[in-house]
């Protein structure tokens, strides 16, 4: 672990020093040239990116990578997944080590301004607090003097101390580098509270907790955490491709196009569907891709709703509600600008 951290640190110094200028060429050409998309993901976050028993990456973030690979390269499997720690991830994008970071990364001004660009949010999350039910706590305001387990190198660390400071409560943090160790410390009772994004807490509760029913996620939401893919600053074409691939998945849900019926939908009379699937218009070529980019992405991973349900929604162990992540037509925040 320590080695990896130093590796990341060295990568910053060396890569920015030596190869920084060599990576200036358009990302799209580089990906097509090597025939593979380099995608950075979380090393293990159930529902977002987590290797299954066969070693295949599953989750909402992994599927985002697949959709982009299908749109750009025509094959959703031409991806090299790189598991990254919270500290390594931003440097990995900045240095060009990966083309796309889909690793539950919160969109903030500081990050956006410092050499990164954010694609549309794929999951609207918020930071929450999980406590054992045996503690008898029902609100975060009762947590004065509590010990809180938190992972190092996340916005969570700062939100936590901001929230306790605002509410004039004291707390003691236990900050650990690896998520596994944070979980272990919490379930061992080292901490009264564990904090992370609510989706991550739900994932931990569903898959790691010895008895999921013994733990309660408190109603307070400490922060806004819009999670989305990240690309390097300075390659607008590549950013557009990632952005519109995600919008295509959202638009597909709105238009009822699924992985199963996308072939039939090619014959749909709706001009919006025809433009999206490349039957008409030149949407793909405008992005530097071919006409079938969105068709292939949808065919490979399904629309946004399918991705959500399969990985974090009712069809998954996490059983999260759509909530803010419902389509705008259903009172959520998922809204794709017109594809025309």
């Amino acid at each position: 672990m320590q080695l990896r951290l130093w590796g990341a640190a060295l990568a910053v110094t060396c890569l920015t020093a030596i190869t920084g200028t060599a990576q200036a060429g358009p990302t799209l050409d580089a990906i097509k040239g090597r025939g593979q998309l380099f995608c950075g993901v979380n090393a293990g976050l159930p529902g977002f990116s987590n290797p299954d028993s066969q070693g295949k990456w599953t989750g909402l973030d992994a599927d985002t990578c697949r959709a982009v690979a299908a749109a750009v390269l025509g094959d959703a499997n031409k991806i090299r997944f790189t598991p990254l720690s919270a500290q390594q991830r931003l440097t990995a994008v900045q240095t060009g080590e990966i083309d796309l970071l889909a690793r539950n990364t919160t969109w903030t001004l500081t990050r956006d301004a410092q050499g990164l660009n954010f694609a549309p949010t794929t999951y609207f999350d918020g930071q929450g607090l999980m406590v054992p039910k045996s503690l008898g706590v029902t609100s975060a305001k009762q947590l004065d003097g509590a010990t809180v387990c938190v992972q190092m190198g996340t916005t969570t660390e700062l939100n936590l101390s901001d929230w306790f400071r605002t509410h004039n409560l004291s707390f003691k943090p236990v900050v650990i580098e690896a998520l596994d160790e944070v979980n272990a410390a919490y379930f061992a009772g080292r901490c009264d509270v564990m904090t992370a994004d609510i989706s991550a807490l739900a994932g931990t509760r569903a898959t790691v907790a010895p008895k999921p029913d013994d733990h309660l996620i408190l109603p307070e939401v400490l922060s806004k955490e819009p999670l989305g893919p990240v690309v390097r600053h300075g390659d607008d074409q590549w950013r557009d491709i990632v952005t519109w691939t995600i919008y295509a998945l959202i638009e597909a849900e709105e238009k009822g196009i699924t992985a199963a019926n996308v072939d039939e939908k090619l014959k749909d009379a709706d001009p919006v569907v025809q433009r999206l699937l490349g039957v008409q218009g030149d949407m793909g070529p405008l992005l530097g891709l071919d006409k079938q980019w969105a068709y292939r992405a949808i065919k490979a991973v399904g629309n946004y709703g399918e991705i959500f349900n399969r990985n974090v929604g009712k069809g998954s162990p996490l059983k999260l509600d759509r909530g803010l992540n419902a389509l705008w037509t259903n009172g959520g925040l998922m809204y794709a600008p017109p594809i025309r």
Binding site: M1, Q2, L5, A8, A9, V12, T13, T16, A17, I18, G20, T21, A86, Q87, L90, T91, Q94, T110, R111, A113, Q114, G115, L135, L143, D144, G145, A146, T147, C149, M152, G153, T154, E157, L158, L160, S161, D162, F164, R165, F171, K172, P173, V174, V175, I176, E177, A178, E181, A184, A185, A188, G189, R190, D192, H233, G234
Partner: protein
């Protein structure tokens, strides 16, 4: 170089001209090579630094150490000084540095004591003791330290009860051991404790003075006073007697309140796990160094000491160890440095050492180059200071022998 001067200078030719101008002169060539190499190193450094700065600017990553003055907003779990989210990044760096020094300092002292005992135990004539020490050394030094830290941390957090279930360790005394750490009463703000501290210092100074006088007396008369009881009486007896007479000072006692104990002093599980891991691991190496040092002293020295009528322990203390120290000190210095650097594994088990704090700062500010540079400078300074001290001590020990 003087030799080559001679070969170049032809007889009769003026000596100075050859030395200043000729490229055939190896001395001149050597100097030119040195200058050339120096320039290449400087230019390479200049290029790397300049390129890094340019790339950082291109990627809109801020550089410089200005962030040290900014408010961090981060709460640090444990600290030797008062700390809070209003502290600047510079302040929390100091908190982290002190935590690193705390665990390394205590670790070095404990590892040395345990290591010396282990080294002597391996040479013991008692079969059981020697075997036990050998097994310990082989088992502990062959398991990666990170794994040992995880084991200790898991034992301390999983094995101990929660704070609400914790019972006093000794009935009636407010010392609690739970998975939140060891809580024990600490002296509260009370003038009595100031006097106790003063008396303690007086006791230490008096003991030093008496033992110096005692040494002189022994050299001139051959008689010596029993220093151990005198020293103990002065250093511990004096403050304790005062405490008993004044009726004791106020104590800050840990009380269970809400989620945890409030008040008193805490030894956190993170600190304890790191300290145990570092101490036990390094002690195994120091034990082997001590053993090799003792074995390096010729057997004749032991026999001579025995012939003079010294007991085994006196011979060890006055004859063997002083000579063995010359062999022991240099490799032990490396072990001390290793222990200090290994303390950075703290990030894995949540002890807020310097690396952990710097990592947090890097993540919040995005200034990885400055953060990593700070880490490098801090460890370099600690290591250089430690080895300077150990080298000084080594010279002192070496001189005594001659």
């Amino acid at each position: 170089m003087q030799l080559s001067d001679k070969t170049v200078n032809k007889p009769g030719a003026p000596r100075a001209r050859h030395l200043t101008l000729s490229l055939n002169n190896p001395t001149i060539r050597a100097i030119l090579w040195q200058i050339g190499l120096g320039l290449v190193v400087i230019l390479a450094g200049w290029y790397l630094a300049g390129n890094t700065m340019a790339n950082l600017a291109r990627l809109s990553i801020a550089s410089g150490f200005g962030f040290l003055d900014r408010e961090s907003g981060v709460q640090i779990g444990e600290s030797l000084i008062a700390t809070g989210p209003r502290d600047s990044y510079g302040d929390i760096f100091i908190v982290g540095l002190l935590n690193t020094l705390k665990v390394s300092g205590v670790g070095i002292v404990l590892a040395t004591i345990l290591g010396v005992l282990l080294g002597m135990a391996r040479l013991s004539s008692n079969w059981l003791v020697a075997r036990f020490a050998a097994t310990y050394v082989e088992a502990v030094r062959n398991v990666p330290l990170l794994l040992q830290l995880f084991i200790w941390y898991a034992l301390l957090t999983e094995g101990l009860p929660g704070p609400r279930q914790a019972e006093p360790l000794i009935p009636g005394v407010d010392i609690f051991l739970s998975n939140r750490g060891l809580k024990f009463p600490a002296p509260a703000d009370d003038p009595v404790w100031a006097w106790v501290a003063v008396l303690f210092a007086v006791g230490v100074l008096a003991t030093l003075a008496i033992s110096a006088w005692n040494r002189k007396r022994q050299l001139s008369t051959g008689q010596r006073l029993p220093m151990t009881p005198i020293g103990l009486g002065l250093i511990l007896g004096l403050p304790l007697a005062f405490l008993a007479l004044s009726g004791g000072g106020a104590m800050d006692v840990p009380v269970l309140q809400g989620f945890n104990f409030r008040g008193g002093m805490t030894l956190s599980p993170e600190f304890a796990a790191l300290l145990f891991g570092l101490t036990l691991y390094t002690a195994a190496f120091i034990g082997e160094i001590v053993r090799s040092g003792i074995l390096a002293v010729p057997k004749g020295q032991t026999e001579a000491a025995t012939a003079l009528g010294l007991s085994r322990s006196t011979a060890m203390r006055l004859v063997i160890l002083p000579q063995a120290l010359r062999v022991i000190i240099p490799p032990t210095t490396s072990q001390f440095l290793n222990l200090t650097k290994n303390s950075s594994l703290a990030v894995a088990i949540g002890y807020p050492d310097f690396v952990a704090v710097a990592n947090t700062a890097i993540n919040q500010t995005g200034q990885a180059v400055e953060g990593v540079l700070s880490i490098m400078i801090v460890y370099l300074v600690i290591s250089l200071a430690l080895s300077a001290f150990m080298n000084w001590y080594n010279r002192r020990v070496a001189l005594v022998e001659r």
